[in-house]
């Protein structure tokens, strides 16, 4: 990442939430609808503060249910739109997200995850992986899910998000967490207006006499029609899987133990890899950047030479299922994690790695 930052980029120290908001403005977002919730309220606050000076619209909605449906309307009208929230608020958006996915509307939704379930805590968590990746709403649909692990990526992935959303007419979720939202880091901001936008021809902008009405809908009452829509969606998801998988590797070349982790946990794992390498243990890290599409194939390849996997998450074990699906029994896959807003330390991960390394040729997964 670092190297790619071009000279035109402006360097700032920013909170992740603010970087995401600023990036959205620079990415040419037309409108934002949102509702306050810790730990992401800075996004709405930043945007309301900037609005009179820049060219976009913000509205504080009466709820997250309203926000996501405003997004539906505005996206359907051809605008580049975003909403953000944190776990409970995102749960309230599940119906709307399913509608948006079905009606194939492009938009970016960020979930600054906090510890759950329920009202839970406001501290960082990764407990919403399943919801984001498998689909918390009803029916067979997919969000494209991007998982930043730095304030820089909080900004960059907004650009990627809009690009992918519009390319595939699909909602994109930025799955981040309270720590990434609240922390400040250096961020190099891309210049304003660097992401092109054209009003899509399917948008409901008023029907000229020369074309048929544009209709945004997710209702396909005849099952044959609904099946056709589903087949189309599944094909699209397949295409996305073919083209858009992103991941990062760190010392995987000769690794016997592969850590897998996304978002904030991947930073902890990187540190753990450093520590382990210092201790002479051959450890590497694979960090999925896109959670859907998931880098199944790359993990499957790594399962050839590696001897074991350890997935590290800030939850009870969610992405680990996808890692297991990828490894498919070739090697044992272990899990370690912390729940409820607690961040595992690199040292804890190291301890787990050392334990595995001590026994590297004799590891077996617990039977489920």
């Amino acid at each position: 990442m670092q190297e790619q930052i071009s000279k035109e980029r402006e360097i700032r120290l920013m909170k992740g939430n603010e970087a995401l908001a600023e990036a959205a403005i620079r990415a040419g977002m037309h409108a934002y609808f949102g509702y306050p919730i810790t730990p992401q309220s800075e996004i709405l606050e930043y945007l309301t503060e900037q609005m009179p000076k820049r060219n976009f619209k913000v509205l504080q909605a009466e709820s997250e249910v309203a926000s996501i449906n405003m997004i539906y309307g505005a996206a359907g009208a051809g605008a580049r739109v975003m909403t953000t929230s944190s776990s409970p608020g995102i749960s309230l958006m599940q119906e709307g997200l399913s509608y948006i996915a079905s009606a194939e509307l492009p938009c970016v939704v960020a979930n600054v995850v906090r510890g759950g379930p329920g009202l839970g805590t406001i501290q960082p968590s990764q407990g919403d992986y399943f919801q984001a990746v498998k689909g918390g709403g009803h029916g067979d649909y997919r969000l494209i899910v991007l998982a930043p692990n730095s304030v820089q990526e909080m900004a960059d992935f907004v650009f990627d998000g809009f690009r992918l959303a519009e390319k595939y007419r699909n909602p994109v979720m930025i799955l981040t967490d309270g720590a990434l939202g609240q922390m400040m880091e250096k961020v190099a901001l891309p210049p304003e207006g660097s992401l092109e936008h054209v009003v899509p021809e399917w948008a409901t902008v008023g029907k000229p006499k020369t074309r048929e009405p544009n209709i945004i809908t997710s209702l396909f009452i005849e099952p044959e029609k609904m099946q056709a829509v589903n087949i189309h969606l599944q094909k699209k998801y397949k295409t996305i899987e073919e083209n858009e998988i992103r991941y990062e590797e760190y010392h995987t070349e000769d690794a016997e133990i592969i850590l897998t982790a996304f978002g904030l946990s991947s930073r902890l794992c990187q540190k753990a890899v450093d520590l382990a390498r210092e201790a002479g243990i051959k450890v590497g890290l694979l960090r999925p950047i896109t959670l859907f599409p998931f880098p199944y194939q790359r993990i499957s390849e790594l399962a050839h030479d590696a001897k074991a996997f350890l997935t590290v998450e800030m939850n009870a074990g969610q992405m680990v299922e996808d890692v297991r699906l990828a490894v498919n029994g070739k090697k044992p896959v272990f899990f370690t994690g912390k729940m409820g807003g607690i961040i595992p330390s690199p040292e804890e991960i190291l301890a787990k790695v050392e334990e595995m390394a001590a026994n590297i040729n004799n590891l077996t997964e617990v039977e489920r």
């Binding site: 810790t38 309270g178 720590a179 930073r267 990187q270 540190k271 961040i343 330390s345 690199p346």
Partner: protein, 187 residues
């Protein structure tokens, strides 16, 4: 070897601990170092304490949330109670004199007691107490260059407060003096 500094800054809300941390982090960027600044957030802040963790390092920082620190800059009693034990062995503790009733007990630490509020009052601007503390810290732990700190001030202070930059600079320098004197005294 790579070097990392992990600092906790804590006090009441309104004492400027958050912006003190931001100045550090911004200066680190200017020094081309890696840095993270992580505030406590949420209702725990309500009328109570505010704190932030600043990490400055030569290489990529893993977690912005840590529980053990190289140094602490402490501006009230509850924070001292909360964080004294969280400072690493032989670490550094800077505290504001007038706000602390029970001083720290640990003997392994290098402890500096800075009369920042009193000094700030002398400078006719109570709000710069935080910069006096920062100056004191930087005198002992020059984790970023003074040059960058002064540049960072401009970035962190909102435009409407830019006329106060000279005063803040002064406060930082005053803090350095106070720390220098005190270290000499203890040595």
């Amino acid at each position: 070897m790579f070097h990392t500094d992990e600092i906790i800054l804590a006090g009441f809300g309104g004492q400027g601990v958050l912006s003190m941390g931001q100045v550090l982090s911004y200066a680190a960027i200017i020094d081309a170092k890696e840095t993270t600044w992580m505030p406590s957030y949420g209702p725990e802040m309500r009328g109570g304490t505010a704190n932030c963790i600043v990490i400055i390092s030569d290489r990529r920082i893993s977690s912005p949330i840590i529980t053990r620190f190289d140094s602490g800059i402490i501006l009230n009693q509850p924070s001292l109670e909360k964080f004294e034990s969280a400072i690493k062995k032989d670490g550094f503790l800077f505290y504001e004199e007038s706000t602390i009733i029970t001083p720290p007990a640990r003997e392994d630490l290098t402890v500096l007691k800075i009369p920042a509020i009193k000094e700030a009052e002398l400078m006719k601007k109570k709000q710069v107490a935080n910069m006096i503390m920062l100056g004191a810290f930087l005198e002992i732990k020059p984790v970023v260059s003074m040059d960058s700190v002064l540049k960072a001030l401009k970035k962190v202070l909102p435009e409407r407060h830019h006329h106060l930059i000279p005063l803040n600079e002064q406060a930082i320098l005053r803090g350095r003096e106070l720390a220098a004197q005190q270290i000499q005294m203890t040595v």
